[in-house]
Structures are given as structure tokens and as C-alpha cells.
Symmetry: C2
DNA sequence: CATTGATACAACCATACGGTTGTATAACTG
DNA sequence: CAGTTATACAACCGTATGGTTGTATCAATG
């Protein structure tokens, strides 16, 4: 699953809020509806609802209707997409170290 | 290195912008000053300078004076801190699967 | 079908964000 | 030390964000 820049903007933007990260964590167990989630935070139901909407737009959670509730569930693939980008940066870093090492040993390699 | 919620806010917030992610990527090689970085983007020098400041405040890059330039360098530890949080979420997910599996096999275990 | 419970959505407010221009400071160079 | 280069910072502007309250929809229940 290949992500575009604006999708990453949404994803990291969604993760840049403590309440939303906590919702992601809680929604891993996929047990609570929005009203239940809202009970954990010192803000209105509507505010939490907006947070969930932002997470949903970012692809980090989905909502599933169960009875009259809508249970919020974390989307593992979304989390993985974000993590993979950070992995890529670390790979680039490693590549840089490799290039530096190669540069240092170049003398040896070209003049054995 | 243990991070607090507001630090993660800054970190993910900093990553929630395409230009800033690109600066992080470029700064892995730690070769360019701010003016050189600014050359890559369709915006003013001051705008790029502000982006770098945001990345610096988030602990994702550092600046090192070299001559009259200030070379921007990505801070690997910052990237790792963000990645580790996402890793933790995935572990929680795995734990949930384990608990579910355990629950399912419980019948077998208790009545062999 | 009227009521209750859970969610959705619009309007509004204060503050933060991404960009601009302009001015000031630091460090090399002649 | 005068001039140039690279960076810093303040002021400003439009828009997005995080919160509020109020109203509307939708599903289960008596």
C-alpha cells in the first residue's frame, strides 16, 4: 500500500494530538463506541467525535455499527504505513553511514 | 530516552508537513545549510527557516555552525522515538490477538 | 409510533500554523 | 573596517485546528 504526501500529512497530523493517540491505543481493543470513549476525556462528546473523524479521515481507525453504537477500531495498516516511512528514513541513515565507511576504506580498495 | 505527550505532539506535528519530511530526508546527509535547503522548495528562505526551527524544537534535527553556514542534520534518536511509539501500538495489537487466541483455546486448555 | 440513546453535523470562537516581507545580527573577505 | 553572505527574528495575513453549543438523524424499545 503506497501512500502519497497528503495522506502522510493527514496521518502524522492525526497522531500529533495526545487525545487522538490515546483513542488509537484504546481502539486497538475495538470495544468502545464514541460515547464510551468520550467518557475518558475532559471534553465534550462532540469534541471526541471530531477527533475520531480526524483519525478516520487519516485512515488510522474505522467505525463499525454494532446495535445503536458505532465501535471504533484501530486500523493496523494505517499505523504500519506511518511506521514504514520512519523505517525508510532510518535506512537512509544507515546508507549514509555505509557510504561514509566506503569512502574511508576507498584508499585501501583502490590501492590494494 | 522516555518522551512525554507534548514532546510527541511536537514530533508528529513536525512530521505532518511534506516540506518538513523532505528536509528531514535531505538532512540525513548533513551537507546543506538553510539557504541551500531553501533552494529546493518553492517558498521563501524565511519559510524554510521556520520549518527547520519547528523540526529543531521537535528534536528531529540539529544545527551545526560550519563557517558562516549552519548545517542541518537529522537527529536519528528523534526519528527512533517516534517509531518506537508506533511499534508499541503494534505490540498492543499483537497482544490483543494473543488474548483472543487464548480466549478461544481456553475451552481446550481447561477441558483437555 | 413516540421515546430514548448514540451518533452526526453546522455554526461559532480563540488560538496556532504556513506563508509573506522587512529588519537585525554574525561571520567570513577584500 | 566596509561589504557581502548566511542566519535570525518580528510583524502581519489568511486559513486550519481544537474546542464549544445547538439541532438533526438513526436505531432500538415500550
Amino acid at each position: 500500500m503506497q501512500m502519497t504526501a497528503p495522506e502522510f500529512d493527514l496521518m502524522f497530523g492525526a497522531l500529533a494530538d495526545h487525545t487522538r493517540r490515546d483513542i488509537v491505543r484504546r481502539a486497538i481493543d475495538a470495544e468502545e463506541g464514541i460515547a464510551e470513549l468520550a467518557g475518558h476525556y475532559p471534553m465534550s462528546f462532540a469534541a471526541v467525535q471530531k477527533h475520531v473523524a480526524i483519525l478516520e479521515r487519516a485512515g488510522l481507525v474505522t467505525k463499525q455499527r454494532i446495535g445503536r453504537r458505532k465501535v471504533v477500531r484501530t486500523n493496523l495498516e494505517g499505523l504500519r504505513a506511518a511506521r514504514r516511512l520512519l523505517d525508510r528514513y532510518e535506512e537512509l541513515w544507515r546508507g549514509r553511514i555505509d557510504r561514509m565507511t566506503e569512502l574511508v576504506s576507498e584508499g585501501k580498495e583502490t590501492h590494494p
